[in-house]
Amino acid sequence: MHKLSIKQLSEGLRAKQFSSRELTQFYLERISRYEPSLNSLITTTAERALAQADAADAAIAAGNAGPLTGVPLIQKDIFCTRGVRTSCASKMLDRFISPYDATIVEKLDAAGMPMLGKANMDEFAMGSSNETSWYGAVKNPWDLERVPGGSSGGSVAAVAAGLAPVATATDTGGSIRQPAALTNLTGIKPTYGRVSRYGMIAFASSLDQAGVVARSAEDAAVVLQAMSGFDPRDSTSVDRPVDDYVAALDRPIKGLRIGLPKEYFADGLAPSSRQRIEQAIEVFKTLGATFTEVSLPNSPLSVPTYYVVAPAEASSNLSRFDGVRYGHRSESARTLEEIYKRSRGEGFGAEVQRRIMIGTYVLSHGYYDAYYLQAQKVRRLIFDDFKRAFESCDLLLGPTATDVAFKLGTNVDDPVAMYLNDIYTIAANLAGIPAMSLSCGFVDGLPVGMQLMGNFFDEARMLNAAHQYQQATDFHRQLPKGFE
């Protein structure tokens, strides 16, 4: 059952081959069987899921079912869910029971998707390996000694292992695409402002965007469709109709102009990964796509730009955690200042503390112009690079990550080495454009991902190209050994 697509699951539910309750129980059983080896969930919500499944079964019986009714999912633990712990993988929020729902939780509940649980992640989405979680590291189902990527490591490990058909995720600098690449999944970060950020715990507000990780572009399209749209409760939500992503999937891609940014194929990309991507380019050519080389000359500056902008915004966003209104309060604090300092000192892990300090530093008097203002100007240069590239092509194609998944513990003491994992993904967040990752093969049994980047609001064209590629290949259908 866990090998079926969302479309097939939906057809099975309508044909009464199985009920949503049976489907939900099937996944809950897989969770109890496999979760101990993965640590992909922070909270399992079996009761809530089964109640939602019963409601879905009633809707199906009454003929009121939509394309997602009765199909279970996992929510990343960054999305507020009313009455359920929403921890953001931090000790700070270990006992935080959200009093309200995020918009996308409301939307996917309304679409009839039973929520199986809340996925593990890097603390406050800060990390590229899912090793900064207060609840412990997540393992990659393709090799339990390796990382699943981050920050959406729990979301991808669960879907890759078949513990859910699909999961939500978020992407501030690559947190959907890099983990999807490392676990053989399809992950999409839509255009900034396409999916509501209301109720999504903020990390860097000008970069954060919600999306989805799934086993195919087809599955991702149908769930992204249900998540997207204008939300008056998010001041940066874009008031613009959502394209029909599902209807666009089957279009032929003959004549699609794909650009290859030469900087993305320079030194630093593992030769074995490069070879898999070159093979994918050949597949796209047989489908009728044409390729040209383009240049994004400022892309080497995307990582330094990001590590000014993102920590600056994070230091401001995370100032709300004061030990007064909600979240962890230090038991040893006796003055107000001690409540602030000790609650934050005890509640935040090392990576979150590092980023708060970098952000505080680059925003402080005397350094603002040299770092923060300069980073914002370079951000404009990076944005302009993309604008120029999209004048001559429809999509850009390159690697998602420099190499396959690395071993747990490899970069934990070297933040700069860890940050360079996101060298190919960060620029899309800085520019605000949509981007996705999908599998293009394996190296020694480990998945390799390729990245597609699109122009603003061009999600449908990206998903279409990915779907056509997946019709011609079967990498995305492979499951990790031991989880078949």
Binding site: I97, P99, Y100, Y192, G193, S206, S235, T236, V238, P300, L301, V303, P304, T305, Y307, V308, S319, D322, V324, R325, Y326, R329, R334, T335, L336, E337, E338, I339, Y340, K341, R342, G345, E346, Q353, R354, I356, M357, I358, T360, Y361, V362, S364, Y371, Q374, A375, Q376, K377, V378, R379, R380, L381, F383, D414, P415, V416, Y419, L430, A431, G432, I433
Partner: protein, 95 residues
Amino acid sequence: MSLTADQIRQVAHLARLELKPEMTDAYARQLSNIMAMVGQLSNADTANVSPMAHPLDMHQRLRLDAVTAPNLREAFQAIAPATENGLYLVPKVIE
């Protein structure tokens, strides 16, 4: 760009973070490395480039001046560390 342990303590104070004393040296080393990486930005020619704060060229939306949110004080205070009579409790600040 190199940060000393004293600078780390000062930044931590500004950010209202109490650091474990044994972490200060490691943070100084790691933040120095990060700032050295970030230092590449100074090589970029940004004369006549306007700063970009946000990917979308949009204005703050306005809405009708109407009451839309219900009063959820009890729900919000139910998750607070300490409250009394609808107020958040903190140690005495003014003698």
